[in-house]
């Protein structure tokens, strides 16, 4: 399947626009692309007429230029006919937004779409979905643009069976400063399924991390998916809903009762080095961390902070996650101490967690981080920063980020996410270092780097 036309369309048709209802999903899609995106968009309705001063074409074949992407938002029983017209007109692919297929029992309609599309090797997303959000390129979501919270373009792709979950994750990406390369809501995934998009995204140069929200796989499909994901050189993150079985089935074997659907799902993912996010906080933290670092770590954490309490809390969370916080040898501690400013030289505790105290200044954090970044006992540095300490300036984020750029050892920051610390936060984020809004999330970011390898 060739997805180029779907995800990087230059021309697009919105089929099923209303001539008198501007709230109609097709009209919302037409309007936002017409006004906000470089894609050349045409409207289609069998009645013809005009919309926003643009002509409405009666049939897709009436549009003079070749169409890359068709967004279909007509009533379900019309969709097979529309799809066949798209194929005949040489359209590159479609997103079928309309509902009323397998999810309402009309598997016949859905099967008709699939058999037609298969025969023509015509990729279509959906039905019953929001479709495609390709930042700065195209947006098939029927959500008014002013209502959406759109993340910046970036390197994380999200594929979701649920449109609602995708839109919500996009909002959280924006909040946490995570960039999106592509968002696809696949709905009933009648033809284009997770594994197809995994294979496309594996080769997509804009994507470095691939995240999936999965409700379930078809028979044998989970196996193919994890095998493909284990061969993918980019980190693959999966969050699954429906973890608890609906009712308890009587099982006649111990194995069947011990190896429930979710237990199998979770452990097979780990076996294959696919990162399972168990909840939303993990999903967001993993996406942010893996968007910056794709190299796995063993999980030997060095903690640097200006507050003893934060160091102690972080150690507890690390240990709950099975991450090590190895103590530093006296020799190493002495080397770190040599470079500290005079006011903290005698009061800083350097065992790991390293507490530079409330009197530390930027230079102390920088020299300590540089030191930890060069010793093999540590493979990931957690920097817990409290910007209300007087010695810390807004420049510290950018300065610490440059240590990662030079030494290549993963650095993860915690900075309270309030507006007045924004420049410090962006100093990290815009320079490729992930910043969490809690100690727990910072540890999860480290955990992601440990989990992105076969267990």
């Amino acid at each position: 399947m060739n997805f180029q036309a779907l995800f990087q369309p230059k021309t697009m048709a919105v089929i099923g626009v209303s001539l008198n209802n501007d709230q109609h999903p097709a009209n919302v899609v037409f309007n936002k692309n017409h006004l906000r995106y470089p894609v050349k968009v045409s409207a289609v309705n069998p009645k013809g007429g005009s919309l926003q001063g643009e002509p409405v074409f009666k049939r897709i074949s009436d549009i003079p230029q070749k169409i890359d992407l068709a967004v279909i938002a007509a009533r379900a029983d019309h969709v097979p006919e529309i799809l066949s017209q798209c194929i005949a007109a040489g359209v590159g692919g479609a997103a079928v937004i309309s509902g009323g297929f397998a999810e309402t029992g009309r598997t016949d309609l859905q099967d008709a779409l699939v058999s037609m599309a298969r025969k023509a090797d015509f990729p279509f997303i959906g039905p019953n979905c929001l479709g495609i959000y390709a930042p700065t390129i195209v947006d098939s979501f029927f959500l008014p643009i002013e209502r959406m919270v759109r993340p910046d373009p970036g390197n994380v792709a999200v594929v979701s069976q649920s449109g609602g979950i995708l839109v919500d994750q996009m909002l959280k990406f924006k909040e946490e400063g995570i960039g999106l390369s592509l968002g696809v809501s696949i709905g009933n995934k009648a033809m284009v399924r997770e594994i197809d998009l995994l294979k496309y995204l594996e080769k997509d140069p804009a994507t470095k991390v691939i995240a999936f929200y999965v409700e379930g796989f078809a028979k044998g499909e989970g196996r193919d998916f994890v095998l493909a994901a284990s061969r993918c050189p980019k980190p693959v993150i999966v969050i699954k809903s429906g973890k608890t079985p609906g009712g308890s089935r009587a099982v006649s074997s111990h194995t069947a009762s011990l190896a429930g659907d979710y237990e199998v799902f979770s452990q097979v993912l780990a076996q294959m080095g696919v990162v399972e996010a168990r909840d939303e906080l993990e999903l967001i933290s993993f996406c942010e961390s893996l968007s910056c670092y794709q190299k796995p770590v063993e999980g030997k954490i060095g903690i640097i902070t200006g507050s003893g309490g934060h160091g102690a809390m972080a150690v507890d969370v690390c240990s709950a996650h099975g991450l090590l916080v190895p103590g530093l040898e006296t020799r190493e501690q002495e080397k770190i101490r040599e470079d500290l400013s005079r006011s903290i030289k005698t009061i800083a505790s350097l065992g790991n967690p390293i507490d530079l105290t409330g009197s530390a200044v930027d230079e102390d954090f920088v020299s300590t981080a540089r030191h930890l970044s060069t010793i093999p006992e540590i493979d990931c540095v957690l920097m817990l920063l409290l910007p209300y300490l007087p010695g810390i300036t807004s420049d510290l984020g950018a300065r610490l980020s440059s240590i990662y750029q030079k030494e290549g050892k993963a650095l993860i920051a915690y900075v309270p996410h309030v507006e007045k610390f924004r420049m410090l936060i962006e100093g990290f984020e815009l320079n490729g270092v992930p910043v969490s809004h809690s100690i727990e999330a910072a540890v999860l970011m480290a955990e992601a780097l440990r989990r992105c390898q076969p267990c």
């Binding site: 379930g216 796989f217 078809a218 028979k219 044998g220 499909e221 989970g222 196996r223 994890v226 006649s252 074997s253 111990h254 194995t255 069947a256 009762s257 011990l258 190896a259 659907d261 237990e263 199998v264 799902f265 452990q267 097979v268 076996q271 294959m272 076969p454 267990c455």
Partner: protein, 227 residues
């Protein structure tokens, strides 16, 4: 390709929906998986002959296509020490439903582990390994992997058990034979890959692992129901 012997066992068991223990053990043995020495006695003379050759103690188990859960009906008698006891057991078993014989086997010793398989709807054949015994569902100390297993999967399965220290040797107890355990798991994985289209699940529980060897003390193979 299934070996002829395996196909025959599976075919013969299809009517019951599961494989009788002596057949299951024969199948395991054909893959090089250790089982205790046993005889499936259809007459008392065979049982006596077995103890004459191998001595006491032995365990006796009911063989009946109608009795899947043997212990629930008193169909398992461990620690038999005499001809008399063996005889009484035979008498009792022979009155049970659909009596087809008495399995007499040597008593095994070692840490009780469990090896299992199931064919998962989404992920296909899956192997389970963990602490075994009758209380597995209480402790739930098990690890799952997609088959076929590689050697690195086996070491990760052992390492990921909560009770893995018990296998490494704990407070004076000797470690179990890791090499034998690994061999058993890999051989079991081969078996599962060969028969996964015919089965629903397999329980080898307990698998008795000692510093010397690992043997499967009980085996239950549930066959896939016809579509």
């Amino acid at each position: 390709m299934l070996k002829k012997e395996i196909t025959e066992i599976l075919e013969a068991s299809r009517q019951n929906g599961w494989v009788l223990e002596p057949d299951a053990k024969a199948l395991l043995r054909s893959y090089g998986i250790g089982v205790p020495r046993f005889v499936c006695a259809v007459g008392m003379e065979e049982a006596l002959q077995f103890v004459l050759e191998h001595g006491f103690p032995v365990v006796a188990k009911i063989v009946s296509p109608k009795i899947l859960h043997k212990s629930d009906v008193g169909g398992v008698v461990p620690g038999i020490e005499s001809d008399e006891q063996l005889h009484d057991t035979w008498e009792r078993f022979s009155k049970m439903e659909a009596f087809a014989g008495m399995l007499v086997e040597e008593m095994g010793f070692g840490r009780e582990l469990m090896i299992g398989a199931k064919v998962d709807e989404q992920f296909g054949p899956i192997i389970l390994f963990g602490m075994g015994g009758t209380e597995v569902e209480i402790y739930r100390d098990t690890v799952l992997r997609m088959a076929p297993l590689q050697e690195k999967d086996v070491s990760s399965m052992i390492k990921n058990l909560k009770a893995h220290q018990l296998l490494e040797g704990f407070r004076g107890s000797k470690p179990v034979n890791k090499e034998a355990l690994t061999k058993a798991l890999l051989a079991f994985s081969d078996l599962v890959m060969d028969v996964h289209e015919s089965i629903e699940s397999i329980d080898l529980n307990p698998v008795l692992c000692s510093p010397e060897k690992c043997v499967v003390a009980d085996a239950r193979i549930m066959l896939r129901k016809p579509d």
